[in-house]
Each structure stands twice: as structure tokens, then as C-alpha cells.
Symmetry: D2
Subunit: 336 residues, 4 copies
């Protein structure tokens, strides 16, 4: 299968290229970015020298379409929706890694991304790209809206709890992320000296991933949820570590809780239900999501930890997992 | 005033020496550690060369007592209580940085520190060493039980909330700490490769600082509190960053919340009530505790962030602040 | 081909297992370490959960031999030579990652490793495992002494210079390494707080890799060399970055120097001759060695930089590259 | 004494403010930067909240001059020389932290800083601000050109060697620096993900500090020197670690070498001659320069290591040391 990556020079695009050039069933035929003229990808990213001779070109959507069967759109939010209608018209398959097709409600989209949605028809058809919840739908989809990084971590941690009505009252999610989640940007806040050895909370209650988490959990569980989501930037090279704090609706033992997760994820090769609390470095560099638990002595409160590599399971790896499913391949292909 | 540091080679002891040798009103007369024979402190810690010619000696409690007026006990838990009775008998003033005199209830002490308390008489007399809550008592005390690192961060964040009955239901505290809080130990878990770029939760619900937080808040506010405390290790060089998640008992605005904190800490020179969410690096290297807030759009939930340097405000700096108060000096002396 | 890893729990052993379980032509049949009883490898290293169900066992050399064709000895120095004679007697192929078979002169071995060499017969037969210099010999060898980490970086940087008589007077090699090169050891010097943000030189002139570099370059080039080698520990997660400083024997232009390197490494898929000075992160996670240069304005002095991942090209990756050659496969198999 | 800092928001300016507000003999009366309007310094740098109520203003040179006796110019290269003539005309004392008055030869200045020197008269009068070499001149100076960061480290390491004719042939200096030396700039190369865990050499032979090192050593020793200087960026939070490699003109023992350094620096309170090779973290946060050595077994080659905090001894601390000398105070005032 011929694949293209539009937006190949962001952190996510780079990771996509890295995974795709080693994938046993695909040929990468096209890379595009904001480069003014075609340039060797290995000139932009010297680490790719000796691994690929691909060039990165200024984005030409007709060319992209003509040389590929499947396209990964690793473009800024509000840009993907410019190209999707054309590509679907050409019968292409798309995994969109932007937020453009994740929120079904255009009003919510506008509130959080500050722009009118331009492609409401395809917005309805798009399937949310989190394989652990929507594998069957993804298998039939032409347009997959790849799950956001925080939502991947948080939804996988919350889904069994919500589904089984285990959360009493609000759930408080404290997520810690590498700064790479904010994209490759030359801003002073992301200077080494501001990130290294630093931690800070940002956008509590109002982060744009809050409605995504709520909408997906609502649709997939048909249950409601009261969520307080607080993301943090932490001076680590990669990963998201989400600690989910809540009261239990009933006394639950540690082994009950674990069984619940094992039940829901028994067919999910990338979710690892742990015997101990996860450590972030055990997932970085991989497509795994590690989940661990603890229950208070009185059995009334619990925490669930969900840990991923933000650029892999939280973006590029998940996108390839979705592609594998769309193509009818084993979902782990090229990812283990 | 002549001061001694017993346990001068741990992370906390080292920081104490660093602060005390520059303090304008004290003379450091004695340093002790597990060294087999007297050795220049600057040989153990070459960074002190050119700053002090003090020696570090094997602990001799009689000598320590005879050459000092005030002693800092930066000893392992269960060791301090071996020496305190003798020193108080000699009319010395003590700031104990271990946990030995923090928990008033010997049964709770035994549950969390796995040893019978040997000095129940002085345990009753000891004053909890958190200047922002107990300044008047500290001023009169001979024995101060310096507040723990997590408790300092968490109690300062929670006190106004509990006092003003603002927390509805349980409070979920998600604390992130540098590994230096675990002490200078040669264990594989603290190897550079296991800490750098890593995050992990540990001891949720059962960490030994949980009863300390609860007891101090209970005693100081005469209110009860349902606490879920989850500490984390994060790959940062210094600091504790506590994010406190909770539901509000009533609709509260951001400015109301801020006023509450300003009210309680108006005489606390080391507590900074922030206009934005704190960043950890803004406190590392200092004795400040930064506190910031956010309230959800519906005014029903909030977060409070409390950020300190774990070895300074969370240990050595707070100990010097307590000494200043015990000596009748300005509490900021040597700390700004 | 069936392969065993003896010493599977050090940093190098772990990396070997990681590469070998994904290698398309081998089956890992045996892992051994100092574990007291058999244990799932993924219990020791949770990151391997979902990737392998192999167990790690107490080392039983007969069993190791009986279930494998090729063995990787990732054992401490002076331990490998206990097992090699037996394994060679069983007609096994061996890649030894310790230093035991690298130094042809047993006296030099004793000087640097403080033990008499016990297996001088096989010491003579062992081939030095640096594929870029000894590919033909490795292809025929039963016992390969995998090149040391610093020597890999330094020899690849120096070989063309020595071969073409370009160095006038002594060469000064300033190497910077991740602490992982020192092995997974619970010592206070490797504590996070001592490594992070730190740099130090150690063992200048007397590091045990000095004679290895000199002997290999002497044998391979038939030229002599005056070497001053100064290794450093630097607070980075992975890699060795060697800066080679020297005077030129004659005026040499930048492009001459580059051509020299291109000539010697034209058949070396893992050596990348760069147009710019390498950055360490461009090789970490890979088996590449990046080499870059600069010549002074007067053409009399130059630097050469040679950069590798110390655990991959400097150890486990190079070992697999050697195995590929010994097995008659493409040397890049499983490594790109 | 009233002091002003022009350029108070760079890394160096921030460190200057930090040192000066705690200095026992000065009052900071004016801070300026590129801010569009006056703003609390603690708003720009929240870590200063509770420590100073100073404002930072748009630079007004007349005001700066009218409210201060001593001015620190922490301005970009080529900007300082716009203001110096005016300030000297007003009989002010100046410590200039830019490179504008370091190079006595305007042609060399132009070659390395790409601009004609506009103030050749004062260039001649300026004293090079490295107290260990020029204390007497600094004491009498009105304009001190504060030594560059790399030059401070390298000159202090080389001076005794050059003075005593110990270097045979070229000296190869391999310096490793924190990225903070490049200034607070929003460029992608200084993004956390490009600095953390990274090392790279840059500008070998042609770095602008090469002529500064050569000129100062030439003038101060009246000896010539052949220098190859290669700076590196290393992913550490602070510091410069210079390893100086060379051949000896004669057999020299370790203790001879050490005595040489002790002789030259016996009156230098901030130079510490070490018994072991320095570790970078032993100087970070301080104004010390640590120097250590090793001599090869044959006594023909040696290395000298010189380690400083690049923003303190390499910039702001050294500037305050110079001010102390200019004011006739103890040079360590406010710096220990």
C-alpha cells in the first residue's frame, strides 16, 4: 500500500515517517511540509540518513493524492478540513491526526478551536481513531480521526470505570506530559532552560481535550461523567502519565478492579494491565498503554494510572494501528 | 548562636550546612555523620571547598551538646528519639528533621514507621514545625518537629480550604517530587537511568505523610477532611509540585478563592499567592511556597497548586525558619 | 538460528534482548543472569511485557549450550573466559561482549583487568568484533571479541587518519559518555542527583580502553600512534561523543579529509560521513556511527567527531552486526 | 553604591539582578530591557516575587546615568559601545558584559562581530575583567570589559601553563557548555527536545572567543600560544567544563603541576586547585573556578580541567567580583 504523510516535519510527522519506513506492508511515496522546495528528508532530520532517501516537498494535494492510497494528515488543527473533502472524493483512505474530525458537534469544535467547521458532512462520517474502542468501525472507515494524546491516555484509563458505573461523583484526572505534545515550536516557553527540571499545570477545566474525552466516553458507554481534567507539562523527553483519582460507587477490591480492566481489554494487544503502578519509561518508545491501580484501605476510593508515549500510542503509533485495521492487517504490524 | 547539625551528609543535612554557614547570626560549631573518623566537610562535598573549613565527625552526642546551643537533627527516622531526651536535659534547643516527633499518636507512629516510640513525654511537648501555622508555639518551643516535605506543600495548600469549609467530599492530592526526597541512597531505583525522563506514582493512600497531613490539619482547623494522597517521583532535580483537586461546597469565584489565601497568609513572608499557576522552577533554590488556583466554569470545582523546593521549604530552609523564630529573630534571616 | 544471551539483565544484555527478539532470522532460546530462580524477563523489565514471554534463568552453561547455536556473552570482565573454552568445544559460535578476548597480549590484559588470562589459546584465535575493519575475519570466526564502546567510537574516527598518515604528533581524544557505559550498578556516584546536569573527566591516560584502541589501530594500520585518551561522564541518557583533536602532517582541505573517510567507509552501511558536525541525538537509538570534521583556517589542525549510541553501536547493535556477518546474512539485518 | 543593570532580562542580566539585590553594599536603582513599558521585575521573572519590588523599564540612558554610580551593561554585542562614551562622560563606572571592549584590535573585533568598532578611544582604556589576572588594573578602571564565559574557563586553566612555558606544540581545548551561554532566544535549536540528552561541537577553530583567549594570554604572559579551541553544547542546566589537552615541554610530575597552579592562584579566592578532577556540579551555583590535572605515566602529556558556572564566574558573578574590586571592597563580597 502506498502511503503519504502530509505534515512530515512536526514531532508527530517525524515519528510517523520513522514507523512507516520500517513497516513491512507499506511503501512511503510522498512526504510534504512547509518546506519551500523539495529537500531530502535526511537533510531535515539527519538521523534518517542511511535509512531513507525520501524527499519532503511543498504540499501539493493533487500530487499527494495521485501517488498514494492512504494519507496521514499530520497538519495543524483547522488545516486538515481543507484537504479531506478532496481526498475522500478521490476515494483515498485518511487518518487525520489533527483535531478536525474528532468532535462531532461543530459548536464545540468552534468553542475550542476558534474556527467554523467547514466540512460538516464528513465530520459526521468520521470514525474516532482509538482502536481499543472502535476497531470494527475503523475497519470500515475511509476517514479516521486519530485520537488526541491526552484523550488516548485518559479514555483508556476511564472506559472500564465508566462502563461499569464505578465512579461516584466527579473524576479528577491529573495528566503529566512531555512538552513534545505541544508541537515543534520556537517559543521561549519551550526553551531547554524552561522545561528541564520544571513542572507546571495549565488550562485546568478548559483544555480542548476535555470535550473530546467527554464526548467519546459518552458515546461509547452511554453513561455520563463529571470530569475535572488538569494537564501538566513535565520536563521529560516523552510520554503522558495520567493519574485518575475518584471515589468508588461501591466497595471494590484491587483484584475486582483489575479483572474489570482485563475483561474490557482482553483483545487489545497494546493495553497492558499491570500488577504494579506503571513507570513512564516502561512505555516510552512503544505503542503500549500501561494501566495500573490502587484501592484505598476502606475500599471507597481508587486511583487508576494510564501511561503512554505521547507521540506513539498518543499519535503516530495509534495512527499506524488504525491504518493496519483499515487495511485488514494485524493491528500490531510494524508496531512491536 | 552556636549550632550543630547531626546527620550532615544526607541531602537535607548538606542543604542545612549550606544555609547555616551563610547565616548572619549563627556559628556552625559541630557537624556529625556516619563517617568513621573526622574529615573535612569539603572533602566529602567538594563544592564546599573555599566556603567552610568545618570537619564532619562521628556522632558524639556529648560533644555535640557541649559545643552548641541549638541542634538540627537530620537523622533517619527512629534515630532522633534516641538523642532528644539527653539534649533537652541539657537545655538545648532542637529542630528535629526526622518524623519522630511529628505524629502525636504513638500508635500511628508505629503503624507507619514500624517501631515503638521511645520518648512519649517529649512527643507531647514537641511543636509541629510549620511556621505559617504554628509561629507562636514555635517561638516558645524547645523541641520543634520540622514538617515533612510533602506535608509542607500539601498542608499550606489545604489549610485555607479546610478552615473555610470549602471542600465538598474527598480531596484528591496529586504530588510530584524530585527523588532527592527519598534521601541519598545507593539503590538501583535511583540510578540516573531510572529517574531521568521517568514518572511514577507510589504508595497511594498509604504513604506515611498521609497521617501527618491529616493530623496537622485536624488539629489546626478543628475540621475533618477526607484525603486521598498520591505521591509521584518525577525526573526533576528538585522540588515538590502538589496539585490539589476537589469539589467546592459552594459557588466560589477565582478572586474569592484568592482572597481567602491572601487572608490566611498575609503574615507569611514565604508564601506567595500567585496570579497564575505556579511553575516548579520558580521556587527551586528558595524557601518560598508558591500557591495558585483555578476554578471551573460552573464554579463547582477547583484546583489549588502548591509548589516548594523539597529540600529547602520542605526541609532545611523551613528548619532554619523555625530556628529564627525560636531565637526571636526575623523569620526570613539567612533565607532570602 | 537459535541464540542465547548470557548476562541478560545488564544495560547491554537488555538491549541485546530487545534487538534479538525482533530480529527476522533468529529465535532467542535462552536468557541467563544472576537471578536466583527462573523468572519472566518481562517481570524484571516490565517494558518487555507484551513483547516476549521468555524467562531469565540462573546461568547453566550446559543448558545454554544445548539449546543454542550462537551465544552472546554479556558478562563481567574475567567471567567470559570461564565459559568460552567449553562453548567452543561444543562447536558453538560466540560473540563475547566483555573485554576478555579483546587484548591479544595477556600482560596488557592483566595490567588493566587485574587478573591472569586463563584462556590464552582462544585469545589468539579471537577476532576483534568491529565489522568496519574486520568483516572478512568475523565472517570466518567462531569467537568474536566485540569491540568496546569507547574503542568503537574512537577507532572508527581514527582509522582513516592513521592509515593515511595524517596525524602529526600526538592525538588528543576527548570522549563524552552516558553513565550507562559503566553498567547497571547501585552506587551513589550514579544516583540521579550526581549524574543529571553533571560532567566529569575520569581515568585520563590510564583508562582500560586505551590499550585496546592502540592495539587495534596498530594491527589494522601497521602504523604507530601517540594517543592521549580522556573519557568523560556526561548527564545524557545514551551515547558516546568523541572529539578527536590533532595536528595534520600536511595541509589538508575539508573536502580532502571527507574524501578520505568516504573511501575507507564506502562499504560500511552504519558509518555516516556527515556534511556537518554530528549531534549526539542523531545516532541515539540506532546502530549508526556519525563522523564529521573541521579543518583550521591554516589547514594545519583538524578535529574529527565520532558519535555513537554506546549501548547499540558501542555494544549490543555491533554484536548483532557481527552475528549477522558470522551467519552469512546482510550485516544490517534487524538493525535498521 | 547605586547600581543599574542595562539588559536585565537575559540569562546573565537575571543572574546579575539576583546577586546584586542580596549584595550587602549596593542598592539596585535601575533595571532596563526591551520591555515596551515599565513592569515589575517579578512579573517578568516570578521567582523574584517576594525578593524585590524593582521595576524593569525601557532603556533610557539618561535616566540610567542619573540614578546610578555603577552600571552593568548586559547588552548584546555591538550595542554596549553605543552607550559607553556617554556614561564615561558622566563619570560613571561601567562593567560591560558584552564583547565590545574585550578585543583591543578593532580589526579582530570586526572579523568576529561583523561591525566596525565605534568607540576606539575607550576601547584602549578598557581593562579586561578577569580579576585573577588584572586585579590591580581593575581597581583603577572606569570601564571593565568583563571576560567572556569560555575565556574565563580557558584562560584560568591555561595561564600558569603558558606563563611557565609548559606547553609543547599546540594546546587543544575541548570545552563543554550549557546552552544558556547562547542567551535566552526562542530558536528551535534550543528547544528542550534538541538540547536534552544531546551533545554537539560547533564553530571549531573559528569561535569568537578564540581571539579573546589568545589576546589576553599573549598580553598577560608575553608568551605565544598555538590554540585549537572547540566548544560544545551539552544538555546540562548550567556550566562550562573545559578539558585542556597538551604535550609538556619537559617531564613534569603531578605535584609539580599542582604547585605551579597554587603559586599563581594563591591570592585568588575563587580559584580552587583540586586534588581530583573536578565535577561540573561542584561549581554550578557558585563563583568558583575549579581546576584539576592529570599527567601521563611518562610525564610527557597532561590534561588540565577548568570548570565554572557559565552565568556566574563566566558572567554575572565575575562582573560583581570586578565591581567589588573597582569599589575597593573585598572581592568576595556578596559572592560566597
Amino acid at each position: 500500500m502506498k502511503v503519504a504523510v502530509l505534515g512530515a516535519t512536526g514531532f508527530t510527522g517525524e515519528k510517523l515517517v520513522d514507523i512507516l519506513i520500517s513497516h513491512p506492508k507499506v511503501e512511503v511515496t510522498y512526504l510534504a511540509s512547509r518546506t519551500p522546495k523539495p529537500v531530502l528528508y535526511s537533510e531535515l532530520f539527519p538521523g534518517f540518513s542511511g535509512k531513507t532517501k525520501l524527499k519532503c516537498e511543498p504540499l501539493d494535494i493533487k500530487k499527494a493524492s495521485s501517488v498514494s492510497d492512504m494519507l496521514f494528515l499530520s497538519l495543524p488543527h483547522t488545516v486538515s478540513m481543507e484537504f479531506v473533502p478532496y481526498l475522500l472524493g478521490k476515494k483515498k483512505k485518511i487518518v487525520d491526526l489533527s483535531a478536525d474530525y474528532r468532535l462531532k458537534d461543530p459548536k464545540v469544535y468552534k468553542k475550542y478551536y476558534h474556527k467554523d467547521h467547514k466540512d460538516k458532512i464528513n465530520l459526521k462520517k468520521a470514525v474516532y481513531g482509538l482502536a481499543e474502542l472502535y476497531e470494527a468501525d475503523i475497519a470500515k472507515a475511509d476517514l479516521v480521526a486519530n485520537a488526541g494524546c491526552y484523550p488516548t491516555s485518559v479514555i483508556l484509563g476511564l472506559y472500564p470505570l465508566v462502563k461499569d458505573n464505578l465512579i461516584d461523583g466527579p473524576v479528577f484526572v491529573d495528566s503529566k506530559s512531555s512538552i513534545t505534545g505541544a508541537g515543534r515550536k520556537a517559543v521561549i516557553d519551550y526553551h531547554y532552560s524552561n522545561i528541564s527540571d520544571n513542572i507546571w499545570a495549565y488550562k485546568p477545566f478548559v483544555h480542548q481535550h476535555t470535550p473530546e474525552i467527554l464526548a467519546v466516553l459518552g458515546e461509547s458507554t452511554k453513561k455520563s461523567l463529571e470530569l475535572s481534567f488538569t494537564p501538566h507539562v513535565v520536563g521529560v523527553g516523552a510520554g503522558i502519565y495520567s493519574t485518575i483519582h475518584f471515589s468508588l460507587t461501591k466497595k471494590v477490591s484491587y483484584s475486582d478492579l483489575k479483572s474489570t480492566y482485563k475483561k474490557y481489554y482482553k483483545n487489545s494487544p497494546f493495553v497492558r494491565i499491570k500488577d504494579t503502578l506503571p513507570k513512564l519509561k516502561e512505555v516510552t518508545g512503544s505503542n503500549f498503554c500501561d494501566i495500573g491501580f490502587a484501592v484505598s484501605e476502606d475500599g471507597k476510593k481508587a486511583i487508576v494510572v494510564s501511561s503512554i508515549d505521547n507521540l506513539i500510542k498518543g499519535a503516530a503509533g495509534s495512527a499506524v494501528q488504525n491504518m493496519n485495521i483499515m487495511a485488514g492487517w494485524d493491528q500490531t504490524l510494524g508496531l512491536l
